[in-house]
């Protein structure tokens, strides 16, 4: 009989299984130090041993079969929570993995190897917790008998563990088209896994519409029904709590009452205290508080002005001193309040990273590329709103890296790179900003082809000698793409310009650097929060503007004669370099009265890297906290303005979007 095909598969599959066995043991071992290992990982490990046993037995490889069989038996007890995960257990599992690897890699498939000591070791490790008595745990569930009848022994045990852990159990009904259910279901289950453990997924067509398939998903989770409903973004799902909690609670109370009348009540309150460690709050409520904090800041500013006039009227004595002290005290507490509220809005980037991993894996699969993602600084925190706005741009950048950056495996091997592409994402805080770097080890961007393309499109003249910076900036222009073929994934003419526009909404900036053939790195610079910022108020030709303090590099006073004109642009000399100067009324096309010629000006220097620009002001008004409010429809999208702010006594100023001016710096 023709079994060659199966024999070939055997070697490849068993090697894969052993790799997976090691990966899972490693993961369980590293997780168990800090918490409970994921039951899915333990089950995966069991399944690998199980599969290996199955296939090796078909070929009569006795030693491999016996070793994997004993390993499977042991892991079966671990996944059914009958054997605890101890140092000894992990050691034994590693030993078994090593033995299996040796047996499979040797030509003789381990024939004649002495596996007895290891088999004994595996057997010994099985002695652990005693098997449990039949229990009545399932009695408290409103679960259709049909579902219980299709649970495997393992799934039953997971259900039991979830009940013991006092988790909520939900049955989620959902219907999909028969043609596309797998993708949609994978999406939904990925979302649900954020909340807990999926115990089983049961398909049925009996109650489904023609051409549709219905699934009953059993989910064990710590969260409550309303949190689950709010947290899962999916249409047409029905969530049902299958745990008769009230009944269970009543029974518990009854038995407690028998023992001790008062204790039942006491236990109940302590358990509630235990749960109430975290509270989920609607973000709009936080916005509301933030607004009030903002108004308070304004009241404080007004109060300071009153104090100032009192001081001028009566001098700095008596009541004026008292008032000054009180305001100073209030100012400190207000700052604490602000930081406190801002902190509540902060969430770690890990939530975004999880999402990115899922999408990246899917995209890579679609494109037939192999990639790995590495994250650093997942605990870096940002305002929730910023993280939300960050999702699309980050997805786009990663999509770009996978599609255009990472080469196909064969090309990579020729270039002497590992066949698997790598995307490294680093996040870290730098002052008032969070920087996120996305770096791929792909083919990089060819600057000469960027230049060629730019000349073709008429963006550069034939004779131009652009700098690296200038070439990189071209990449962010609408419709600019160096790849001639439009691919399914990141093509369709939507390019980095959209990323840039999206980032501007959250006052973010993006830069790129690359080495041809080696790597490409995008760097995103983001403010930690948008809610309240410290600003420098400046005045130019009679109008006031707020410049976010965290974007100011330095400020200086210059003589009027220090402003020179080069190629029709106003510039100043700043130490070793020459930087352009911008006049705000001219930039915004405001019609202001012609100012008197002044002898002195003030300059706010903003920028980074190679790009710097000076914003010209007639005078600095002062420094103040401002709450940025969005602009109305009419002014929305005005270049250079990110919002408006009330600076007290009803005066409104425009808040400058400094990133726009920095771009101007390059155009000069």
């Amino acid at each position: 009989m023709e079994q060659n095909k199966a024999a070939k598969e055997f070697v490849a599959e068993s090697e894969e299984l052993i790799d997976k066995i090691f990966k899972d043991i490693n993961e369980i071992d590293s997780v168990r130090k800090t918490g409970k290992p994921n039951p899915d990982t333990i089950n995966e490990l069991f399944r690998s041993a199980h599969s290996l046993k199955g296939i090796s037995s078909m070929f009569g490889y006795k030693e491999i079969t016996e070793t994997s069989h004993k390993m499977e038996d042991l892991l079966d007890k671990v996944r059914l929570s009958k054997v605890a995960i101890t140092d000894q257990l992990i050691k034994t599992l590693y030993a078994a993995g090593d033995m299996l690897r040796t047996m499979i890699s040797s030509d003789t498939f381990g024939k004649g190897m002495d596996v007895e000591p290891l088999l004994k070791q595996l057997k010994d490790a099985e002695i652990g917790k005693q098997a449990e008595q039949k229990d009545t745990l399932f009695d408290g569930l409103t679960l259709n008998k049909d579902i219980l009848s299709v649970l495997t022994e393992y799934e039953e045990s997971r259900l039991r563990e979830n009940i013991k852990d006092q988790n909520n159990l939900f049955k989620i009904d959902v219907s999909f088209s028969l043609l596309s259910f797998d993708k949609e279901l994978a999406d939904l289950t990925a979302q649900m896994k954020n909340f807990g453990e999926i115990i089983t997924t049961l398909p049925s067509t009996t109650e489904a519409k023609e051409g549709e398939i219905k699934f009953d998903i059993l989910l064990g989770t710590k969260v409550r029904e309303e949190q689950l409903t709010a947290g899962i973004d999916f249409k047409n799902i029905k969530i049902q709590n299958i745990r008769k909690q009230t009944v269970v609670a009543a029974e518990e109370k009854k038995s407690a009452d028998v023992n001790n009348g008062a204790r039942g009540v006491l236990d109940e309150t302590t358990s509630i205290k235990g749960i109430a460690q975290t509270v989920r709050v609607d973000i709009s409520k936080l916005d509301y508080i933030m607004n009030i904090v903002g108004e308070l800041v304004l009241s404080k500013t007004n109060l300071m002005k009153i104090a100032e006039s009192i001081r001028q009227e009566i001098g700095f004595k008596g009541i004026a001193v008292e008032l000054n002290k009180t305001i100073k005290d209030m100012e400190r507490k207000m700052r604490d309040l602000q930081t406190g509220v801002i902190e509540i809005r902060m969430i770690p980037l890990s939530q975004l990273f999880d999402k990115l991993t899922r999408t990246a894996t899917r995209i890579a699969k679609d494109l037939g590329k192999e990639i790995e993602l590495e994250f650093y600084g997942a605990d870096t925190e940002l305002d929730k709103l910023i993280i939300e706005e960050l999702t699309d741009p980050m997805m786009h950048i990663i999509r770009n890296s996978i599609d255009h950056g990472i080469e196909p495996a064969d090309e990579r091997i020729i270039a002497g790179k590992p066949s698997k592409g790598k995307i490294t994402i680093r996040a870290y805080q730098k002052g008032n900003h969070v920087l996120i770097e996305v770096e791929d080890d792909g083919r990089g961007v060819s600057l000469s082809s960027v230049q060629r393309k730019a000349v073709e499109k008429g963006l550069l003249s034939n004779t131009a000698k652009p700098t690296r910076e200038e070439l990189f900036n071209l990449l962010f222009l609408p419709g600019f793409s160096t790849k001639s073929d439009v691919s399914e994934v990141s093509g369709r003419g939507v390019g980095l310009d959209v990323v840039k526009t999206n980032l501007r909404v959250i006052s973010g900036m993006i830069d790129v650097d690359t080495q041809e053939g080696k790597w490409t790195r995008f760097t995103l610079t983001l403010p930690v929060t948008l809610a309240i910022i410290q600003a420098l108020l400046i005045e130019s030709e009679g109008k006031r503007y707020a410049v976010p303090l965290n974007s100011i590099n330095e400020s200086l006073s210059i003589g009027a004669d220090e402003i020179r004109i080069i190629e029709n642009k106003e510039v100043i000399k700043l130490r070793e370099s020459v930087i352009p100067v911008i006049r705000l009324p001219r930039f915004f096309n405001f019609h202001t009265e012609k100012p008197e010629k002044a002898d002195n000006y003030y300059i706010v220097v903003v920028g980074s890297g190679e790009r710097w620009i000076g914003i010209l002001a007639d005078r600095f008004v002062g420094q103040q906290d401002v709450v940025i409010k969005p602009l109305g429809k009419l002014l929305k999208g005005t270049r250079g303005i990110s919002g408006a702010a009330d600076i007290g006594s009803g005066e409104i100023v425009l808040v400058l979007d400094v990133s726009v001016f920095i771009e101007e710096a390059v155009k000069v």
């Binding site: 009989m1 023709e2 079994q3 095909k5 199966a6 070939k8 598969e9 055997f10 490849a12 599959e13 068993s14 399944r47 199980h50 599969s51 046993k53 199955g54 296939i55 037995s57 078909m58 009569g60 079969t65 069989h69 499977e72 038996d73 079966d76 049909d146 009848s149 299709v150 649970l151 495997t152 022994e153 393992y154 799934e155 028969l178 043609l179 259910f181 797998d182 279901l185 089983t200 997924t201 049961l202 398909p203 049925s204 067509t205 009996t206 398939i213």
Partner: protein, 122 residues
């Protein structure tokens, strides 16, 4: 008309083993699914004369597939064979209770599977 057989099994080795056992026995059209989901997608597209399924699989388990097939008017009469392993007696019993016709325990010989083929679909 040739007979169509569906194999649902996540191990490529087992799939290759089973399909070669079937193909060397007679002229059958063998369809292979690596997951329960693939099987659910194939079911409405092909008239199957037999389904051979594993129980421990990553997305939906074999028991759920059996229950799905048996409850569905269109598929309820298709002969169902469980491929199982030692140590999973409880799951196997559940599968038989759900309406599977036969089971095979790994390791089994090609002849055992061929015997079942002969009895159920000739």
């Amino acid at each position: 008309m040739s007979k169509n057989i569906l194999i649902v099994e996540d191990s490529p080795t087992m799939r290759a083993f089973i399909s070669s056992a079937i193909e060397s026995y007679g002229s059958y059209e063998v369809y292979e699914s690596a997951t329960g989901f693939e099987a659910l997608k194939l079911l409405p597209q092909v008239d199957f004369n037999m389904i051979v399924t594993d129980i421990n699989m990553p997305d939906i388990n074999g028991l759920e597939l059996i229950s799905f097939v048996r409850k569905n008017q269109q598929y309820k009469d298709i002969p169902l064979i469980i491929i199982s392993t030692e140590g999973t007696e409880m799951d196997r019993q559940k599968g038989m209770a759900l309406g599977a016709n036969e089971y095979l325990v790994k390791p089994f010989k090609p002849e055992e599977l061929q015997g079942i083929l002969k009895r159920y679909i000739g």
